[in-house]
Symmetry: C2
Subunit: 382 residues, 2 copies
């Protein structure tokens, strides 16, 4: 934590946890007999519980979206730039809930948790979780917190898919839905990148069919490769050019296989760092949730028909240099929402950061979220 | 080989080999004390040796560009679509030379060859080869074949970089230079993808610091991952969509980590196939040659100044959906050639295949190559 907490920070935050003893039936046909969700909240729930906002995290995210968990923390939560007093998601006005999703590796029930049926970690036996399963578990958390209807559900990337699924599966339980840097389904290329990441993990000899903890090891190399690859897709070609260009680490070519270029050592560092912190089985699960997401699939591929179930207002946002989920993918969603006669605001934000842009406090983007949330307070449901 | 050789095939071809006993000094400061180049030729060299065309191969290519090596061959050479009697590179008119580059794994001296100093395979001790080194070795092959001046040097991707290097280093030894689907240097993103591929290989426990043959093994998993990743960058998003979409292999989701989607099994197949055939040390070398290529680097980054050394005529070609070496990268080259007052024809070909398009007989593209080669015969050097 910085020596002084910034005035616009939510401050020191303690994660909470909720245990659910009712079984959760899952899309895959299996069910979790019970589960725990770890979450954080920022701000205060008002009297009529009408000011709650749910933040859904992306592939490698977690519940810690804002503030500091301890005085030792050097960095705040992953979306601290947008959540706090006076920020776009203003904790003076809103009660913000951010959880770690099922299957995660940050405290909620996932592959590292004990399987009540066997008494040992689930590991690879953890069921494949679909986006709709997360949303169902989030709805139960809302019940627990006394929130009938979210002011808004907000998410970027895989988080945006959860927000979209909320609008379809629980149309009366949210006023606004913000789908940021996301897509109504993955493209073949998106799936292909995920598949290479998965193969990197499962082909690591330390993976042991997902039972690496039994062997007192972890598939660090595979996870590192997966993250390096993922990282390339989060940045834009232009941001990489700006950040690294062809700059050499030592000012000259090495003529060996050490890292010659800055971009190489950056990626190695990112990959190694991530592989120390993240669980490989969780990474596999998250990529499958991405691949499987296709809400129109239940409606003969007709996204507009699918979305006509929704009642809420939508904000769809994309970023000009995002090639993982390019603006065209957001436009598909906007066209379907329009055909379904839903209220939708759409803006493509000019930003150099690629997919990662959704994490940055880009003024136009921040103002858009803030304005959308404010308009919901004024207008109510449509 | 098909039961009947097509009329426009160069037919049954025997690779030849040339041994060079003079040491080849290399860009990295080391040298090869002697070396062998394996090559094929198609068509006949004319009396004044003025009809020779050099084909330079890309990352995973080799000397076998056209025809069939044996009656068992099911597939012809990698650029058979463009090389043959009556084809764009017409073997009735031209004498076509195609070699396996140094460092390769198809017969020319490379990591799998015996190091004369140690008597065992070079393996990881094979020197890092730069594009200029290849060109130098190719010039010696030209000497050997009695070719003072190529009618044209042609290459796609990494092959285009060799063609470009020819125009700079041996300006009087080629009339035409065709740089196809290439770039004057890699971007940070290009390097990043190469680095992930390299890390996949070197982090494979079967890599053994490149001495896998000593351990009677090969880093197949790493090479498979490298190829899967590479393959994604060779195809366009749209061609993947067209080819695979979100088609499911078994018509339904498996809810496990088997390949659900067609694109996954396609990539796995491509990766496994490649890892059976290709040498990992060669793959590493080829990616470094790509990363290091930057002819303007010797001229304070001024590509136009660098290219003003060239005398030949240029054809630069890009493909609309190529995102590995996007049309903008070709345009950089064209702008520099124009500033250097070189004669250059440029066309961006509309093609859905992505980077791989350069291997396809797209009519407009084929006509362009044919026309360029014909115009050189008429116009001579500039």
């Amino acid at each position: 934590m910085p020596t002084e907490i910034p005035a616009d920070s939510v401050g020191l935050i303690q994660p909470q946890s909720a245990f659910f003893e009712d079984a959760l039936p899952l899309r895959c046909g299996r069910s979790l007999s019970n589960y725990t969700l770890v979450y954080e909240t920022y701000g205060s729930l008002n009297q009529d519980a009408s000011n709650a906002i749910l933040i859904c995290h992306a592939l490698s995210g977690h519940h810690h979206a804002a503030g500091y968990n301890s005085v030792e923390d050097r960095k705040p939560g992953w979306w601290d730039a947008c959540i706090g007093p006076g920020k776009a998601i203003d904790t003076n006005r809103y009660f913000v809930v951010s959880l770690n999703n099922l299957g995660g590796c940050h405290g909620s029930t996932g592959p590292m948790s004990q399987d009540p049926e066997t008494g040992r970690p689930y590991g690879p036996d953890f069921p494949i979780i679909a986006v709709r399963d997360w949303v169902k578990s989030q709805a139960r958390l809302a019940d627990r917190l006394g929130i009938d209807c979210w002011h808004a559900v907000i998410g970027g990337s895989l988080g945006g898919m959860q927000a979209l699924r909320w609008s379809i599966d629980y149309p009366d339980r949210l006023k606004g839905c913000a789908v940021i840097a996301s897509a109504p389904k993955l493209s073949a290329q998106n799936i292909a990148f995920n598949e290479v990441a998965r193969q990197a993990i499962v082909s690591d000899p330390d993976f042991h069919q997902g039972r690496y903890f039994d062997h007192d090891t972890r598939p660090k190399r595979g996870l590192m490769l997966a993250r390096m690859l993922g990282h390339i897709t989060y940045l834009s070609d232009s941001s990489m050019r700006e950040k690294f260009g062809r700059d050499l680490r030592t000012g000259k070519l090495n003529f060996n296989f050490d890292a010659d270029f800055e971009v190489e050592s950056y990626l190695r560092y990112q990959g190694e760092n991530f592989s120390d912190q993240f669980d490989a089985n969780t990474y596999l699960l998250m990529t499958k949730a991405l691949d499987y997401f296709d809400p129109a699939g239940d409606h003969d591929g007709d996204l507009a028909r699918c979305l006509s179930q929704a009642h809420c207002r939508f904000l769809v946002t994309s970023f000009s240099t995002d090639w993982r989920f390019a603006p065209e993918r957001s436009e598909e969603l906007v066209r379907a929402l329009t055909r379904a006669r839903r209220q939708v605001s759409y803006l493509e934000i000019e930003a150099p950061q690629g997919h990662d842009a959704f994490l940055f406090p880009i003024p136009e983007y921040v103002a858009l979220i803030e304005g959308f949330l404010g308009s919901l307070a004024n207008g109510g449901t449509v």
